[in-house]
Symmetry: C2
Subunit: 289 residues, 2 copies
């Protein structure tokens, strides 16, 4: 089942990460880095491992970019949770990093996790061909930076400071940076490692990323904090435009469903080999956490 | 003279950076990124350009890593100045980024600058050979991360939380991470671009980096904020161990002088071609800002 496969992936990434961190001095920052990376669903790392498997890339290579994307994702959550950003106390069902340690440790651990992400994709053990490593690094930097994830964050911040609610196009652009860029990179990674065509996995991931965010907006309305593992109802409380506020709950559910169907169809050239990725897409909109 | 050469390098890096940022959406975060990178001495970028010139690397290639290291350095200053870290209001003679904008913009702009640094060294325009780009990226990630600059920051933070003042060995280790790692990478960059021996520039830069930090400690005691462009006297006020508190003012000056002599000697294999780097080393301990 998909959830078992996801769990196995997360454990493999955790173990790999522990090995990498083992070479670093034991300091609060280092322990905080391990804390930040653990305890999540590991969807992005799993997407890397699965797209690598689809291209017959050895798992010991794929673990490097899988771990890298989880490090980048974790750093973004740690910084996003800071008091000056979203000011969250709960993440993955545990205290956020700055609550467990302090703000300075959270800033530093996030910074070190970002550097470590780039270190892992440029490590020769990730791939013997430097052209593949350089390609992984360049695409990851673009996905993480001011044209990708940080752009999404910046658009989100700008939206919170205006009284005009966002349009559907604007929210879609915001989310394609904030969540979409890393999810797309994750799904592409296997094809990049194998120097294969990126188009099918890109089309799949763009739809998956958007469906994922719509599901997040739905959970913010229908979920409870204990199950979801983070604060819920914050967007509605702030009067923030979301996919649910713009499309209605049923409309948002239908849109997510269509996106998942399209995401699965985009993988037709892979045949049944891509069934796990299809199952993941269906899971993303049925999840409760 | 060296100061003119430094100024020309900084202007070239600024112009290159403006070109790179020109392709990014115009948002507060983007403008803050430009603000953070400008206004400094540009020593790290200059070291990249000069070590590249020494190896006959075309300047239009060297500008990529020069700009990358200034972006990484700028991000570290922006995060270091945050209220939860050093809580500084003044940097490079202007308000720190979180004073000019706000904390959230400072966190995000710093994060985006780090990603942009890695994007620039993995850009094919930096070097046509992917092996060189992958090498620049891996070494930059190590220099910036939890074994390099962030390690230095973390050791510094740990030191502020203990009542036991650091020993000379501990301060040297701390500074070799906090300041030394990026300075060493900068001086090595030209040799990396040319796939030449790293040893002479590494020996030079390790001594230069330490001399630079000793000079910083001296300025913290002897300089005034208007000239230095940032707060001074903070270390002494906090009772923090520095090279000056451990070696005395004269002892610190002598140690810096010896390091500069050794740094210059390390470049003997380059002959007179490395005179500009030697002049830079002498400048570093004579500077007033």
């Amino acid at each position: 089942m998909f959830k078992d496969s996801l769990g196995r992936g997360a454990r493999a990434v955790d173990a790999h990460f522990a090995g990498v961190l083992g070479g670093v001095d034991d300091l609060p920052v280092t322990r905080a880095m391990g804390y930040a990376v653990s305890g999540g669903k590991g969807l992005r790392g799993w997407l890397v491992l699965e797209s690598a498997r689809l291209h017959d890339v050895p798992r010991d290579r794929a673990l490097w970019p899988a771990c890298a994307i989880e490090a980048i994702h974790a750093y973004s959550l740690v910084h996003d949770d800071l008091p000056c950003m979203d000011d969250d106390d709960l993440r993955r069902g545990r205290p956020t990093l700055h609550r467990e340690w302090d703000e300075a440790t959270a800033v530093l651990a996030g910074d070190a996790l970002q550097a470590l992400g780039f270190e892992m994709v440029s490590d020769p053990r990730c791939h013997p061909d430097a052209a593949v490593r350089a390609d992984l690094t360049l695409s990851l930097a673009r996905a993480a930076g001011a044209r990708g994830m940080v752009l999404g964050q910046a658009l989100d911040m700008a939206a919170e400071r205006t009284t005009r609610p966002l349009t559907l196009d604007q929210i879609t652009a915001l989310q394609s940076g904030k969540t979409g860029a890393l999810i797309t990179w994750s799904a592409q990674a296997g094809a990049r490692l194998a120097r294969a065509d990126l188009a099918p996995l890109t089309a799949y991931a763009e739809r998956l990323g958007l469906a994922f965010q719509i599901a997040d907006d739905i959970l913010d309305v229908t979920g409870d904090a204990d199950t979801v593992g983070k604060a819920v109802g914050k967007d509605a409380a702030r009067g923030k435009a979301t996919f649910v506020s713009l499309l209605g709950l049923d409309g948002a559910k239908r849109r997510a469903q269509t996106l998942v169907t399209d995401a699965c169809d985009a993988l037709s050239s892979y045949g049944a080999g891509a069934d796990a990725l299809r199952e993941a897409a269906r899971f993303v909109i049925s999840r409760r956490t």
